[in-house]
């Protein structure tokens, strides 16, 4: 036990002495600070700016056909608030020239109220101007026709202004709200497990390749070494997560007033506390499953160069789990059969079950079963990994085959 705590302290200390570890943590905290303070910063700048239309791009509407120029100008201005809308009677060629010389960004040339040509210099992938224009013109046309048919202007106005009221009540969970924080947490889970898991593998392999292992293996028990390393990197990962999320929470509270009305940000920081607890539970268990295996794989490698190819299958497994989860999340059905199965397999359940808990309603017994399976797997994988480790660290030369490794483990 004393050995274990010595190793744990030593390993943890070496994480905190790593410049990369400190650098990345500080960078992330700063990045979050910039994002969180951004509305305040923007506001400071925009207060200095006098409101002007100069910066807005110019949109020209050529409406030579209609007598409704006023209505058209008004409607287009209202619909395209990002543009400085001009009504013009210029010829088509002139307008085209203005567009190519970039004085004007785009132009609608109305043939009638129900037909127009749209001119733009570079058509963007996200250009929705024509859809908006369709709607605007449709309304003008309808009003026009209604008024022609003798309906009084007030009634027409009223008919068009009628809005529909609706209320949505979600009896389970609201995926609109929890999508973002689930996504962020799953991504954090993914990054930390992958990064720190691979660090465990590299750590073991470099001890082996620097031959410090010769001395270590004669000084400490393999089990203490394995557990010391894995738990140290788990703690390092957790501390980094806490630093990043903690500072995000702090910065959010400092800027709370500026973020009011931003549903995404508000939903992220109003996530239920119990979810945070689940996150930590699944993080720790999931981390152990992978870190033990990464450690075991690291111990079978003699040269640091070989480590990438050796850990690939495991990394692949984890990436697939991530893809399945994210795909299910974005498709909106987190309770599909694949996710259901994945939430019981120890390699995928940390992410899959967590996503289901966050985004849908999972009966408590399912959660318990999943966690129990995970705990049992952690213990099993831990024991097997320590055995592989014990055999692996003394093997030099080519990376052993799985079959010969299994034989050696049986003997150990």
């Amino acid at each position: 036990m004393k050995q274990f705590s010595t190793i744990l302290k030593f390993e943890l200390k070496s994480y905190f002495q790593k410049k990369v570890f400190i650098g990345v943590t500080i960078f992330l905290v700063l990045l979050i600070a910039v994002v969180m303070f951004s509305p305040q910063i923007f506001q400071m700048f925009s207060e200095n700016d006098t409101e002007s239309n100069e910066s807005k791009p110019v949109m020209v509407v050529v409406a030579s056909v209609s007598e409704n120029t006023e209505i058209i100008k008004q409607s287009f201005s209202e619909a395209f608030t990002n543009y400085d809308v001009h009504i013009s009677k210029e010829s088509l060629d002139e307008v085209k020239n203005q567009i190519t010389s970039q004085k004007v960004e785009c132009a609608f040339v109305l043939n009638s109220l129900t037909s127009y040509d749209y001119y733009v210099n570079n058509l963007s992938l996200y250009d929705t101007n024509t859809q908006i224009a369709d709607e605007v013109l449709q309304n003008i046309y309808r009003m026009d026709e209604m008024m022609k048919n003798g309906i009084p202007v007030e009634s027409v106005q009223q008919i068009f202004d009628t809005g529909i009221e609706h209320n949505t009540t979600s009896l389970g969970k609201n995926q609109m709200q929890n999508f973002f924080y689930t996504y962020i947490m799953i991504f954090a889970l993914y990054m930390v497990i992958l990064l720190y898991g691979q660090m465990v593998a590299t750590n073991v392999a470099s001890e082996k390749s620097s031959r410090a292992m010769e001395l270590l293996i004669t000084s400490a028990k393999p089990v203490s070494m394995m557990f010391g390393k894995v738990i140290a990197s788990c703690l390092a990962g957790l501390i980094q997560l806490v630093a990043v999320f903690g500072s995000a929470y702090l910065f959010y509270n400092l800027n709370k007033t500026y973020w009011e009305g931003n549903q995404i940000i508000e939903s992220i920081f109003n996530m239920p506390l119990e979810l945070l607890v689940y996150m930590i539970v699944f993080f720790i268990l999931g981390f152990f499953v992978y870190a033990f295996l990464y450690g075991a794989i690291g111990s079978t490698v003699s040269k640091l160069e070989d480590i990438n190819t050796s850990v690939m299958p495991l990394t692949f497994l984890f990436v697939i789990a991530f893809v399945v989860v994210v795909f299910s999340m974005t498709s909106g059905s987190v309770d599909n059969i694949l996710m259901f199965i994945c939430s019981y397999i120890p390699f995928t359940s940390p992410m899959a079950m967590f996503t289901r808990i966050a985004m849908s309603t999972v009966p408590i017994y399912e959660i318990i079963i999943s966690i129990v399976i995970l705990i049992a797997s952690v213990i099993g994988i831990g024991v097997i990994s320590a055995k592989i480790y014990r055999v692996g660290v003394l093997l030099y030369g080519t990376t052993p085959k799985i079959s010969s490794l299994l034989k050696a483990i049986k003997k150990a």
Binding site: Q3, L216, S404
Partner: protein, 296 residues
């Protein structure tokens, strides 16, 4: 204190690495464990240290199975290596702590050894800033800092310059005089001859020769003479087949039996101008080549 290995056997898969190794050594003496690469030295050492158990056989201290909680072992592996990127004091204290020392005495002991080996100025440097010889000295501290009762040194002199070799010799002699069990494994026979009272030569997982070095040499058949003479060429010519010239220009004469020794000496001194005649005693190197030469 006495360390005894009794009939150790070990297989790795199909490969029989140790086929019944037995030897014993006591405190205050150095024991030389010799053998070619792959003879089973490192495996024996690892079994002594409890890295893995033997398939059969025992490691005994004073007749009882070794208790690793009581007996501390210091090991200098042949493949040297520590943490290249870590501060020297940090890793030395770490290894001492792993050997069950408490923090205070670990720091104290490490500082003592750094001072003793003239390495105090590197205390807070990273290991990879040191020369190879100095890294060796740091490694030696990991072997000795926890004051072990058994010290196992695998090729301790490789890579050391003559001055550092002297320092190491002094340290080893001091440890022996403190009554510790010192186990040497080396291919540099001159060092073994200098330190070790007893040796065992391993070949193909078996002990092919063991005992007091002095006895081994004395028991060798004394049927060869070494002659130093101005007339070396003439002697070889006239005595014929039984003679040969050595690399150093001496004549080596193979006798038909030990008893013929006196007779032959007489003939030689009467007939030729002789500077020196002696009975050939094999060096450890010769003994090693004879016993470990053909790997079985």
């Amino acid at each position: 204190m006495e360390l005894e290995l009794r009939n150790l056997q070990k297989n790795f898969g199909q490969k029989e690495v140790l086929k019944g190794i037995s030897f014993s050594t006591e405190g205050g003496k150095a024991f030389g464990l010799l053998g070619r690469n792959g003879a089973g030295k490192t495996t024996s050492i690892r079994i002594i240290m409890g890295v893995f158990p033997a398939d059969s056989g025992e490691v005994l201290i004073d007749g009882k199975p070794i208790d690793y909680n009581k007996i501390q072992i210091g090991y200098l592996p042949e493949e040297r290596g520590l943490y290249p990127k870590k501060k020297i004091i940090d890793q030395l204290v770490y290894f001492a702590l792993l050997k069950n020392m408490d923090y205070k005495s670990a720091v104290k002991s490490v500082d003592y050894w750094l001072n003793r080996l003239g390495m105090s100025e590197y205390r807070n440097k990273r290991l990879d800033t040191l020369s190879k010889g100095n890294q060796q000295k740091i490694q030696l501290i990991t072997t000795l800092a926890h004051d072990p009762q058994i010290i196992i040194l695998d090729e301790p002199f490789s890579g050391l310059d003559p001055v550092n070799a002297m320092v190491l010799k002094d340290v080893v002699k001091e440890q022996i005089s403190k009554g510790k069990i010192v186990l040497f494994s080396s291919h540099q026979m001159n060092y073994i001859e200098e330190f070790c009272d007893k040796i065992a030569i391993l070949n193909g997982g078996k002990v092919v020769l063991q005992g007091e070095l002095y006895d081994i040499k004395r028991n060798y058949v004394r049927d060869k003479l070494i002659v130093r003479s101005e007339n070396a060429d003439r002697i070889v010519k006239e005595l014929g087949k039984c003679c040969s010239l050595t690399d150093t220009g001496e004549v080596k004469i193979q006798l038909s039996s030990e008893e013929e020794k006196q007779n032959m000496m007489k003939i030689l001194t009467e007939k030729y101008d002789i500077d020196e005649i002696k009975v050939f005693e094999p060096s450890l190197n010769d003994i090693f080549v004879e016993y470990a030469g053909n790997q079985g």
